[in-house]
């Protein structure tokens, strides 16, 4: 490496510009899980399903009146709304009050 006094450089930025993305708010929370239908959205990695099963067992014990419905995104690294199953996903979600999701990482 040259000495600190040797050479002087005015350099351009390698970091690309990017358009800002408009931000949206998340949706209103539910007041309580009792009597609610909870969706369990499970992605492909192998720990996702047992994690959500463990969550479901605990929720059933604490909220006996809650019900549960699973949805599996079986295509690794593909957003569900870009797949043929988008309508199935939308129909599933319509019946759900709140969702717990796990990717598995």
């Amino acid at each position: 490496m040259s000495s600190k006094t040797e050479g002087f450089y005015e350099v351009l930025s390698p970091w690309a510009e990017a358009d800002s993305v408009p931000y949206s708010a998340i949706s209103t929370r539910i007041s309580d899980l009792a009597d609610k239908k909870i969706g369990l959205f499970c992605n492909t990695k192998r720990v996702a399903s047992p994690t959500l099963k463990a969550v479901e067992r605990r929720l059933k014990k604490r909220y006996p009146s809650a019900t549960f419905s699973w949805f599996f995104n079986t295509a690794p690294n593909e957003a569900i709304i870009t797949q043929k199953r988008k309508d199935e996903f939308d129909n599933w979600l319509r019946e759900i009050d709140a969702v717990i999701a796990a990717y598995g990482d």
Binding site: E17, D19, A25, F41, V47, I100, Y103
Partner: protein
């Protein structure tokens, strides 16, 4: 994380469970999709764990947080998330000595850890001589940050890598290869960032190989040739600085991969008995191309004999699980195979047909991605039955490279679904011959001793 954003978009509250090591990654993904407030719970559920006790303990540790994330009213910030102002960096980002420039770039996370050449206006202008495209020409927006891949940004990263202006056409084509990569699991958006530490691997074909002195002979994968070294390095910097892929945030490679510094080879078309890779893809021999795959591993093996049966048995013995394969035969081995009637196509078919593994092994490996209800889980194959490891011979590439000797190389990992984008034609500027003449003699001349 994109699915969690889709759920919130549909006005349903969601909480995302993520291992504590992936929280930054999850938050980056939700911000990039315009919903920074998605509630992510950091858990101690171990990644990829199959031990139920560990999973249960991880859930127990996050139990209260999960309930709270679904029920606690939104904060003012969550109701009206403030859009961060887009950073518009000054054109001249820094002034200083070589050492100071290097420290500044390193601290910004803009380098690969090695020293860089300062991208001065003058050096970038020289680099831009390698293309007829204007500096502000936008090729596209590169994931994960949707950074604007302009010709100037490519040139700046090329200067930093130590590339020559004659490499610009290759870097532009390589960037297009990334931009047009298949969406979903088999493309750059997986292999660029995933825990699997996949590395871009670039194969150059056509006349440009010789114009740029890209090594395709002895030690082709070793350091020591400026084209092989800096083309791959520049592409790595393009992914980092234009794509915005940060190690440990978007790039979640568990082990990382030394091939990410650079992994470039030219096919040795002159000594190959077969048609080159780009001709297999429908290009003319006179065209120049760059092709992209994403291997995880590089291995070499030594066939016990130089006859076709010995060579191919060694290939089969050394093929391991992957989604895409590149087999690199040295010229003499390739000629021996050709002499016994083998071409690229029937080598691929032979390997795919003969590489058998127990069905149980396939099922165990697929278990990583098998989810309840999938057809894979319902497979009733006899677990002792020997089945092909490779179901579609088109996932294998065969190229010729390397020097005299017997060793054969395999690059095993990921890449495009056969038939999807993996190769890009390299377009040359009008002044190409003059430019090549200017830089052609940048070659190492070793001292005699």
């Amino acid at each position: 994380m994109y699915d969690a954003v889709s759920i919130e978009d549909r006005q349903k509250p969601v909480v995302m469970l993520a291992n504590y090591g992936f929280v930054n990654d999850a938050e980056s993904a939700s911000r990039s999709k315009g919903m920074p407030g998605v509630r992510v719970i950091s858990t101690k559920v171990p990644c990829e764990s199959t031990v139920l006790e560990d999973i249960e303990a991880g859930v127990d540790g996050s139990w209260d947080d999960i309930i709270t994330a679904l029920t606690k009213p939104l904060t003012a910030e969550e109701k009206s998330p403030r859009v961060e102002k887009t950073e518009t960096p000054a054109r001249i980002i820094f002034k200083g000595s070589l050492e100071e420039v290097n420290r500044f770039f390193y601290r910004r996370g803009w380098t690969d850890g090695l020293p860089i050449i300062p991208p001065t206006e003058e050096a970038v202008l020289e680099m831009l001589m390698g293309t007829d495209l204007p500096a502000d020409y936008l090729l596209g927006k590169l994931q994960s940050r949707s950074g604007k891949a302009t010709i100037e940004k490519i040139a700046i990263n090329a200067v930093m890598a130590g590339a020559l202006p004659t490499y610009m056409p290759v870097l532009i084509a390589g960037t297009i290869d990334l931009l047009e990569s298949e969406q979903g699991f088999m493309g750059y958006t997986t292999f660029g960032f995933s825990t699997g530490s996949w590395s871009p691997f670039w194969v150059i074909n056509g006349p440009i190989r010789n114009h740029l002195n890209i090594n395709n002979s002895s030690g082709a994968f070793s350091p020591g040739n400026i084209a092989n070294a800096t083309i791959g390095r520049a592409m790595g910097l393009i992914i980092k600085n234009i794509g915005g892929v940060r190690k440990g945030i978007e790039d979640m490679g568990v082990m990382g991969n030394p091939m990410k510094y650079t992994m470039v080879i030219a096919e040795n078309e002159e000594e190959s008995p077969w048609e080159p890779l780009h001709v297999e893809h429908g290009y003319n021999k006179e065209d120049s191309t760059i092709s992209l795959s994403f291997p995880q591993s590089f291995l070499q093996h030594y066939p016990p004999g130089s006859d076709a049966a010995s060579i191919l048995q060694s290939v089969i013995d050394n093929i391991t699980r992957g989604m895409r394969y590149t087999i690199v035969f040295n010229p003499s081995t390739a000629k021996n195979l050709a002499r016994e009637g083998y071409n690229k196509e029937n080598i691929k078919k032979y390997v795919a047909e003969k590489k058998l593994v127990p069905a149980a092994q396939i099922k165990a490996q697929l278990g990583a991605v098998v989810t309840p209800g999938s057809s894979l889980q319902q497979s009733s194959r006899d677990t002792a039955e020997m089945v092909p490891l490779i179901r579609d011979h088109r996932v294998i590439r065969v190229i010729v490279g390397g020097g005299p000797g017997a060793f054969v190389a395999h690059l095993i990992g990921g890449g495009a679904t056969p038939g999807k984008k993996e190769i890009q034609k390299i377009e040359l500027p009008k002044n190409w011959n003059k430019l090549v003449g200017k830089y052609k003699n940048v070659v190492p001349i070793y001292a005699k001793y």
